[in-house]
């Protein structure tokens, strides 16, 4: 059980290069909002470059970049493939069978990092990492189109120290499509009915108290909180160009370095800021 003080501390990040197939694959899975839009591949590459650059230079993380696999257009969404807490990594079983091909490369990296790698063994389980919200104190697992109850059980089985609560997520989004941790005890949450209902459910289920940071746009509810050593912390959030009305709420957060990041192209696949990387802390302090 890593202490709460270590929440948000990371040393490594796993990302995956954008395959060209990203542009060819429409968001037919419905994960993206609204009408499927064609992905601007060049823009996607630019955004990816900015994103990884921030991870490296602003967050000081050691970035492990997986090569793009043209056969796996969604492989950039690495967060779906693993749930990591402390030194334990649960390799998920994505709902989309085609995405299970992404597992091997990520698993390999995690093992090289000497993580305790656990795999979902239940054939009836489906689990997308984007449905798993770790607050530092407990897990919330969205029961969604992508993740079922048995998948959530795998999370509970793997991370036994923590309470694992299930949150029904309607529609085609993931739990973290509209929420994330914006601080050690702060949950950023969108304003849609689904988001509101989800946060109410979380508040009902938790033993703790979380502050909530409500943003007008659901996608803006997904941000990435990273502690930068003892001095401060940073928050990656969606850029003003994408969600101008959702900038103001983040200004309220104290002692944070706000880093606007755009990921509009990946978002067309249902991607989020958090889903583009797997963050790992290899310096677990006990």
């Amino acid at each position: 059980m890593a202490g709460l003080s270590s929440f948000g501390k990371y040393t490594h990040a796993i990302v995956c290069c954008i395959p060209d197939s990203l542009g060819t694959r429409p968001a037919k899975d419905g994960a993206s909002e609204g009408q499927p839009e064609p992905v601007d591949l060049a823009k996607a590459h630019r955004q990816y470059g900015v994103y990884t650059g921030i991870l490296r230079q602003k967050l000081g993380l050691q970035v492990i970049e997986l090569a793009a696999d043209e056969g796996l257009p969604h492989s950039v969404l690495v967060e779906d493939i693993a749930v990591i807490q402390g030194d334990t990594a649960l390799i998920t079983r994505p709902w989309e069978p085609a995405r299970r091909g992404e597992i091997s490369s990520i698993k390999k990296v995690l093992e090289e990092l000497k993580m305790r790698v656990v795999e979902v063994t239940d054939d009836g389980a489906t689990l997308d990492g984007s449905d798993v919200l770790f607050t530092g104190r407990e897990f919330f697992v969205g029961i969604s189109r992508w993740t079922n109850h048995r998948g959530a059980e795998m999370v509970a089985d793997t991370f036994r120290d923590f309470a694992v609560s299930t949150i029904p997520v309607p529609g085609s989004c993931h739990l973290k499509s509209f929420c994330s941790m914006a601080g050690p005890d702060t949950i950023a949450i969108g304003s849609s009915e689904a988001a509101k209902k989800a946060i109410r459910t979380m508040e009902q289920l938790t033993d703790h108290h979380y502050d909530t940071l409500t943003v007008p746009d659901d996608p803006a509810g997904n941000c990435v909180y990273v502690r930068l050593g003892p001095k401060g912390s940073a928050l990656l959030h969606r850029s003003p160009e994408e969600f101008p009305s959702s900038q103001q709420p983040f200004q309220k957060l104290p002692d944070l370095t706000l880093i606007p990041v755009a990921c509009s192209e990946v978002a067309k696949l249902g991607g989020t800021l958090s889903s583009c990387s797997l963050l790992i802390n290899k310096k677990l302090d006990r």
């Binding site: 059980e153 120290d161 694992v164 289920l205």
Partner: protein, 968 residues
């Protein structure tokens, strides 16, 4: 604006002293006493224990109830109404007792209304504290009392204060039982009961499995109550902070049940063997707040069992970390020479531990160099407490759709699990009522924000007994963690058929307070090694993980022999033997025999062994699935043989209204708790002797004076709805209370410079009272002698602690004034507000009653002092008229005012005197300026209406201008 009004009605019963008791009782509850005696004896004599009997057919159970307890209760009610005042004083205690008894006998259908309004759920911390203080202070007194009263069923003389307290509690319990047994409506005092109990002497040997795997055996009187055994065990263990623990027995269906300390053991276990296991019952949410290392040690032992058995799930990392702390605690620093590669295999860290885990444990062990055993235990607990299943008592159930779920009862509320996933959660504050009917368990949930109606959620338990067991666990947990003091039995309004079970022990708040009084040097104790198997014996280490904790490793070199395995009955026997041997040594004896029992060859931990572990674990899990913590199949198997009639009454519907106190109430509780602690601390600080003297003195006075005063008061009370205070009963109690109050006041002063008004009413010692008041004013202007519960300031524990010092000072003062403390009929209204302190004498009573009371009381030397410090001029004006002001403003017509009423009932037995104090805390919260006088008046009025039989002895008004505080 928040105005907190806490009218407290205190009822003191003086019952333990033989000579005085009779007189006192007669005065107090004349009718009741006599009837009770007869009844009480019957009850004790009657073979059918309440709980057990209840198991039999519901009808029979009901009958039993009626005969014994329930009848008493139902009958009680009407008399109360009739004899309001007198009854009130006596009754509350009795009621509680009755309830306890009733529950045991027949828990069929009981509905409890919300504690907030109707029943006063929150206890009288003050009382409890006062009791404890009294006890502690007047150990001598108690002893004397015991001897006199013969109430001491327990032969053993307890030296420590706690022991005395225990005795007192036992006595109370006995009283309760007796009362419950009473068919008559009358409320009996404990004294009579006490006397009866000791006369019968039939001893039974009983055995208790201790957490270190050893066995303790002792001879108990056949009709001894659970408390007697529990106290013996705790004495054996040298454990003072014992309220977190309990004794389990396993029924024929392998279900583990908590032994109710307030009831006779025989009636609970019936035909089962007298085998018990000593377990943690209430897991302290923050073990660091425990006072003594020895307490933490036992908690560690419990958790190691829980973890090794799989009952408390952990991740690999946590298993390793906790294991490493276990090694550090038991072996000390890692020594590469002494600790070879295999040393770790002897320990059971997890249900199934791999070589990898052991390596990790060793690796971590090396990093703990320098940690003392106590420090290692603390680290262990700090990590264990964060586990999500820490302290969660799981029960199998099905939801309304027949889906298998688990209900987890914990400090915070009720958790609903499906598989391992938490699918719902009901915090205690959200639960309005808990009930069970047959095999169904119901919770009534407060309406959500946007909802208007309460909803009731039902769960299906495997059987009626499981439902009742769950219900009781919920009641106990709620009371322990959420209330300041145990909930008193339902008042007349609440009287209903069914289980009246209530948690009768101390609440966490109370036990924390009590813990603060502990001032002994840290007791020496040996740590038992948790090696699962002693290799030395046979080299086969594979014990069942659960019991791996048995050995004493660290302290002694007993070494290998310690391991105990619960594999078979034989093992259990072995343990038993060990326990016997160990009995009277304070330190746990190592059990070499256990080693022999384990035949398994697991030195190398082959896969087979692991499989065995798992199998055993799985069994253990099954066992653990039910709330009972310890898995010890072997012993239980024995018990199985014996037929048990533990069946709860199927038809009966028990409803507990476990009412959650609102947030405000909660806050108040915390505060009160703190106060109690402070008081106790003061008590300790003060010379015990002085206090004891006082107490004795008071008691004597009480007995003598009480008769006269009682008669008058009783008559008044009966006639009048408004609860007037009966001084007699209170004498000793009052003093304590006052001290507490002072302490509280000090706290408040520090925090807010609140104004304290203390009204000390002494029949004969008016002058002294005055002195106290003055002192209070001088020393701490803020000394708000709020009757214990009333103060609801948002004060935090820290604040309180800081105040303790002040309290100590106050205590000294109190000691001087102790005589004064005797409150006969004094009603104190304290309005505390920061800036201005005004002291006024105010007696609050109903308008009709006022005159009477005042007149009566006045001659008695009642000095009512109201210190009202109002910042606002309004209050000042009100303050001018003593009672008149408050009373006059009886109608509150401000819509902006929301009133929350919390009632605490505390039963305290000090020495020969038992007190029942009902404290109502009323929090009035309003956005706009509220007429506090009106609010107060109405609150008092309502309180009186609700508790017509009670006398209002004190009203403390704490006004907070800050909304937050009031809300708290």
């Amino acid at each position: 604006m928040t105005t907190e009004v806490g009218p407290e009605t205190e009822v003191k019963k003086d019952s333990e002293q033989v000579g005085a008791d009779a007189s006192e009782e007669a005065t107090q509850s004349q009718e009741d006493i006599k009837c009770e005696k007869t009844l009480s004896e019957e009850a004790q004599d009657s073979p059918s224990s309440p709980a057990l009997a209840s198991q039999s057919s519901p009808s029979s159970q009901k009958k039993e109830k009626d005969l014994s307890e329930s009848k008493g209760i139902s009958r009680f009610i009407p008399p109360w109404l009739k004899k309001q005042k007198s009854y009130n004083l006596v009754e509350p205690k009795d009621e509680a007792k009755k309830k306890a008894v009733e529950e045991g006998q027949a828990v069929e259908t009981g509905e409890c209304q919300l504690p907030e309004e109707v029943t006063p759920p929150e206890g009288n911390l003050e009382k409890a504290t006062a009791e404890s203080q009294q006890v502690a202070k007047a150990n001598d007194k108690e002893e004397e009392k015991h001897s006199l009263s013969s109430a001491d069923t327990q032969p053993a003389k307890e030296d420590s204060k706690e022991t005395e307290i225990k005795k007192v509690s036992e006595e109370q319990e006995e009283k309760q039982k007796i009362e419950g047994k009473r068919e008559t409506k009358e409320v009996q005092t404990a004294e009579i009961k006490m006397e009866k109990a000791p006369k019968k002497i039939k001893t039974v040997q009983c055995k208790v499995m201790l957490l270190d795997g050893t066995e303790y055996s002792c001879d108990l009187e056949k009709r001894a109550k659970g408390q007697v055994l529990f106290d013996k065990v705790c004495e054996q263990l040298n454990l003072l902070e014992k309220d977190y623990f309990g004794l389990l027995f396993q029924d024929n269906s392998d279900q583990k049940n908590w032994l109710d300390s307030s009831k006779e053991i025989k009636r609970q276990i019936r035909n089962l063997p007298w085998l018990f296991t000593f377990n943690v019952k209430f897991y302290p949410p923050d073990p660091s707040q425990l006072t003594e290392d020895i307490t933490r040690y036992f908690l560690c032992l419990q958790l190691r069992q829980d973890i090794a058995s799989g009952r408390l799930p952990c991740s690999f990392v946590t298993h390793s970390l906790l294991g490493s702390y276990t090694l550090q605690a038991e072996l000390g620093d890692y020594d590469p020479e002494e600790h070879n590669n295999d040393y770790i295999s002897e320990f059971q860290f997890a249900p199934s531990q791999s070589k990898e885990m052991e390596e990790k444990v060793v690796e971590l062990h090396k990093t703990h160099r320098g940690l003392t055993p106590a420090q290692a235990d603390s680290h262990f607990l700090e990590n264990a407490k964060r586990l999500s299943m820490y302290g969660v008592d799981l029960h199998h159930a099905k939801d309304s759709e027949g889906v298998d779920i688990m209900l987890g009862v914990c400090a915070n509320g009720l958790l609903i699990y499906k598989d391992r996933l938490r699918i719902n959660r009901f915090a205690w504050p959200k639960i309005l009522k808990i009930s069970y009917k047959r095999s169904s368990f119901y919770i009534k949930v407060r309406p959500a924000e946007l909802e208007q109606f309460e909803s009731t959620i039902g769960f299906k338990l495997p059987n009626h007994r499981a439902a009742k067991r769950l219900w009781k666990v919920c009641v106990e947990h709620h009371t322990f963690y959420r209330l300041v003091s145990p909930e008193q039995p339902a008042k007349a309004k609440f009287l209903t058929l069914g289980s009246k079970f209530r948690y009768s022990g101390r609440t966490q708040a109370q036990t924390r307070q009590a813990s603060n009084l502990i001032d002994r040097p840290a007791p020496y104790f040996e740590r038992t090694s948790s090696k699962r198997v002693s290799r030395s014996l046979d080299g086969a280490p594979m014990g069942i993980p659960d019991q791996s904790l048995l050995r004493d490793f660290s302290a002694t070199t007993v070494g290998p022999a310690g391991g105990v395995v619960f594999d078979g009955e034989a093992v259990g026997q072995a343990k038993l033997k060990d326990g016997k041997g160990r009995d009277e040594d304070g330190s746990p004896t190592k059990t070499p025999q256990l080693e022999l029992t384990q035949d398994e060859k697991d030195l190398d931990k082959t896969q087979d062994d692991l499989l065995k572990h798992q199998a055993s674990i799985s069994e253990l899990k099954r066992n653990f699935m039910e709330s009972t913590p310890e898995p010890r199949p072997s012993e239980w198997e024995k018990r199985r043989i014996t037929p048990l009639s533990l069946q709860t009454q199927g038809s009966s519907h028990e409803t507990l209204t476990v009412v959650e106190e609102k947030k405000q109430a909660e806050v108040g509780i915390e505060e009160t708790v703190v106060i109690d602690e402070i008081n106790r601390g003061k008590m300790q600080a003060d010379t015990d002797a002085g206090e004891t003297h006082k107490v004795e003195h008071l008691s004597k006075k009480d007995s003598s004076s009480s008769s006269s005063s009682d008669s008058s008061s009783s008559s008044e009370s009966e006639d009048e709805l408004v609860g007037e205070y009966q001084p007699q009963h209170r004498v000793t109690e009052d003093i304590i209370r006052e001290e507490q109050e002072e302490n509280e006041g000090a706290k408040k002063k520090e925090e807010r410079a609140t104004e304290i008004i203390q009204s000390v009413e002494t029949l004969q010692e008016g002058s002294k009272l005055k002195v106290t008041v003055e002192h209070s004013q001088v020393t701490a202007k803020a000394l708000t002698q709020e009757n214990a519960v009333t103060i609801k300031t948002g004060e935090k524990n820290v604040m309180e602690e800081g105040k303790r010092e002040e309290n100590e000072e106050q205590l000294k003062i109190n000691g001087d004034v102790s005589h004064v403390d005797i409150d006969v009929a004094s009603q104190i209204i304290c309005c505390s507000e920061p800036p201005v302190v005004k002291t006024e004498m105010v007696t609050i009573s109903d308008a009709t009653q006022r005159t009477e009371i005042s007149t009566k009381e006045v001659p008695i030397v009642q000095t009512e002092t109201k210190t009202i410090t109002y910042e606002s001029p309004q209050f000042d004006g009100s303050a001018g008229g003593d009672t008149g002001l408050l009373l006059s403003a009886q109608t509150i017509t401000s819509e902006s005012v929301s009133t929350t009423t919390t009632t605490h009932i505390t039963k305290t037995v000090k020495g020969g005197v038992s007190e029942t104090r009902i404290e109502k805390r009323i929090v009035i919260t309003g956005d706009a300026d509220i007429d506090h006088d009106q609010a107060l008046a109405q609150a008092i009025k309502e309180a009186k209406e609700q508790h017509p039989d009670m006398s209002v002895t004190r009203v403390v008004v704490h006004k907070e201008t800050e909304l937050e505080e009031g809300k708290e």
